[in-house]
């Protein structure tokens, strides 16, 4: 009796870890596994139970590090080879992967349109990062073929709406209210959530400043949407999704993050990461005034006092300074700090120092940067005659721009520097000061 040959079932295989690729992300694979086949070991890496794994590949899909792969036993491999042969003869298509968003989700997402940028202000003056974000926002709006708008909150801040048109916005949403004079989380986030719920932008960008970080976290939580902090790259990918790239693990790796099924897609960007767009004087746009019903009694935070740390010169706090001109052992004497002070004065900054200078008594301990001193993150950090030992660099490596001036081309400070000049600081530093003065004089004429 000729027994009909039973068509073999396509083996699905099993997931396994590729050694050395796991980043211990916190168990996405474990959480995603429908069969509890994945457990995490002491190191936070998955251990996959071969007998429980059904080969559904869900862990592979969620692994951010592509650290998982499918494998097949030799028997399974034989069946696969067999199937491949028959498939080649009969041209049965490979089973299609189910992917993509459901119709419901698509309909929900389609309600959200437009790119919004938050104009952060203190005392009616905009933070520059807002305009930098408008530059990036314009690219995103163009790629999506939607409108670019700003939203402005404060008291007497209508001028900022107009200023935002000069930087590329077509529309500006304005909430002008005495309650918003000084930033407080609660009235700001409530007003912004009202605006977003009403007008439904698909992307909202904010500066990753102390204020922006305080606010963005509250807004995203209230809207129950995704927020990606400190993005260094923003582009549009498939399905109009915002691809948000940011450093992770202390800057050791980069991650690209998407908010797939929630809107708006929120991202923050640090100052000076995106270039400043060109200002188009006279550009116009539409201002949309919104009234929010605030009740001061609802707000639980009252500002008692604002203390300006930027007063005075010698007393300027290095941790809050935007420009630091720091000296190290190479300064040779207390007196030589005058040349650093001259550059600092020209740039509106202050001087700082490495531990060696403090121990030598050249500068006060309040100026010390590094592991045992202060951690600083100025816009510009000049490292003059500083070799760049790790104990110093941990305190300044997050500065937005680092300029190293050192005689020794092999000094480790050049590893963390954005720009370096190999040379004698006693010649180079005064020359930089002189050149900036010269450029300023030329501009005035």
């Amino acid at each position: 009796m000729a027994e009909e040959k039973k068509k073999p079932k396509r083996p699905l295989g099993h997931a396994r870890l590729i050694l050395g690729k796991c980043i211990a992300c916190g168990g996405r694979c474990e959480a995603e596994c429908p069969k509890e086949a994945v457990t995490l070991n002491e190191k936070g890496e998955p251990v996959i139970d071969f007998n429980k794994c059904i080969g559904c590949r869900r862990c592979l899909k969620v692994c951010p590090a592509s650290a998982l792969e499918m494998f097949f036993t030799p028997e399974e491999q034989l069946v696969l080879d067999e199937l491949a042969k028959t498939a080649a003869q009969t041209k049965t298509p490979e089973p299609a992967e189910e992917e993509g968003q459901s119709a419901d989700v698509k309909a929900k997402l389609a309600q959200f349109k437009g790119v919004w940028v938050f104009v952060e202000q203190t005392e009616s003056k905009a933070e520059e990062v807002s305009w930098e974000l408008l530059g990036k926002g314009a690219e995103l709006a163009k790629a999506l073929n939607v409108e670019l708008s700003t939203f402005v909150l404060g008291e007497n801040v209508e001028a900022l709406c107009k200023e935002s048109f000069a930087y590329g916005a077509a529309k500006s949403y304005l909430v002008d209210d005495p309650v918003l004079k000084h930033y407080r989380t609660e009235p700001y986030y409530k007003a912004i959530c009202e605006l977003i719920n009403k007008y439904k932008p698909e992307i909202v960008l904010m500066g990753a400043t102390p204020l922006g970080r305080d606010l963005a976290g509250a807004v995203a939580t209230d809207l129950a949407t995704g927020l990606t902090a400190d993005c260094t790259g923003l582009t549009i990918g498939d399905n109009r999704l915002l691809l948000q790239t940011r450093p992770a693990f202390g800057g050791n790796i980069m991650a690209t993050i998407r908010t797939e099924e929630n809107r708006p897609q929120m991202a923050s960007v640090r100052p000076h990461v995106m270039p400043m767009p060109r200002k188009q004087e006279g550009a116009t746009g539409v201002i949309i005034r919104e009234k929010i019903a605030f009740n001061e009694n609802d707000f639980l935070v009252k500002i008692l006092e604002l203390v300006d740390d930027r007063k005075g010169d010698g007393g300027m706090d290095i941790a809050g300074a935007e420009v630091l001109v720091a000296g190290g052992r190479g300064m040779l004497s207390k007196d030589n700090f005058k040349i650093l002070q001259a550059l600092a004065d020209e740039l509106g900054g202050t001087i700082a120092a490495s531990r060696a200078c403090v121990e030598a008594g050249w500068v006060g301990v309040e100026k010390q940067v590094g592991q045992t001193g202060k951690t600083v993150r100025p816009k510009i950090y000049f490292a003059c005659g500083i070799s760049g030992a790790i104990q110093h660099t941990v305190g300044m490596q997050d500065s937005e721009l680092i300029i190293a001036i050192n005689r020794d081309p092999g000094a480790p400070i050049f590893e963390v520097a954005t720009y370096g000049i190999v040379g004698d600081l006693f010649k180079v530093v005064p020359a930089i000061t002189a050149r900036i003065k010269e450029l300023r004089n030329q501009r005035r004429k």
Binding site: E42, V62, L227, R310, L439
Partner: protein, 270 residues
């Protein structure tokens, strides 16, 4: 009255290295530590305990081995520690994490009035600074981020005065309790555990709450409750510093090239 310190066990990212050949993270031998900012959060909670007699609970969400960090909190003087650990909590982004932590604070609050939740300003592995504001928003508590000094707490009027450290200025604020604060490192200098405390903490219980205890809707926690998805991870291009000019031969020219560059890139405004 209870102060809750939210702490996280993190890999010491300063010790993580990148394999130059494969471009992958080398985690071998990298120790797990209490997130440095959280050591200041816990310390501030303990100082409030010393000063006002509050009880201190330290909570963390993470894998079972996070008990190590909770034990450390006990040895420093926390009265109670809770590990929030469940398969369903795994793979959480900041939104889903803040949900579980906020619910845990609520649950602690059923037994004892919570006056304050203290978090570090951010973690060194995620660096987002989003979980603190997330907890506050979910609990409908006011939030103060970047606190560098607690000036006074008045338990009768339920008010606190604190100072926030912002760019170029400080802000002194009064806030109604309960409040969520995030702290910067300048706020205090963490203590070390004493030997007797370390020994006695060995016998203290570490409570674990899984989702059978928490009863949270699984679509709002863990990977399922996370709106963000990590799409791809890659090694950053190491932007090697650019050496400008020949400063040894011609310092004036090198200085001028640098100054021009700073002006062109709009870093220095004329």
């Amino acid at each position: 009255m209870l102060v809750v310190a939210c702490i996280k066990q993190v890999p010491d990212t300063t010790q993580v290295k990148i394999d130059p050949v494969t471009g992958t993270l080398i985690r071998e031998g990298v120790p797990f530590i209490m997130n440095p900012f959280d050591t200041h959060a816990l310390e501030e909670a303990l100082r409030l305990k010393d000063k006002y007699g509050f009880r201190v609970a330290a909570i963390t969400m993470g894998p079972p081995n996070s008990t190590l960090t909770l034990r450390k909190a006990l040895s420093l003087g926390a009265d109670e520690v809770v590990l929030l650990s469940d398969r369903a909590f795994g793979g959480a982004d900041t939104l889903a994490t803040s949900r579980v932590l906020a619910e845990a604070v609520k649950k602690l609050g059923e037994k004892e009035e919570v006056v304050m939740v203290i978090c570090g300003k951010q973690t060194i592995d995620g660096d987002t600074a989003q979980v603190g504001p997330g907890i506050a928003t979910r609990l409908r508590y006011p939030q103060l981020t970047l606190v560098d000094q607690i000036k006074s707490v008045d338990v009768n009027t339920k008010k606190m005065i604190a100072r926030r450290k912002l760019e170029g200025h400080h802000e002194i604020v009064e806030v109604k309790l309960p409040v969520v604060i995030t702290v910067v490192r300048e706020i205090n200098k963490p203590r070390y555990p004493t030997v007797p405390m370390r020994l006695s903490s060995e016998d203290m219980p570490v409570t674990t709450w899984d989702n059978k205890t928490m009863h949270l809707d699984e679509t709002t926690i863990g990977l399922k409750g996370s709106p963000t998805r990590v799409n791809r991870i890659f090694s950053p291009e190491r932007v090697k510093g650019e050496i400008i000019g020949d400063g040894l031969k011609n310092p004036e020219e090198a200085a001028a090239l640098l100054a021009n560059k700073l002006v062109e890139r709009d870093i220095i405004h004329l």
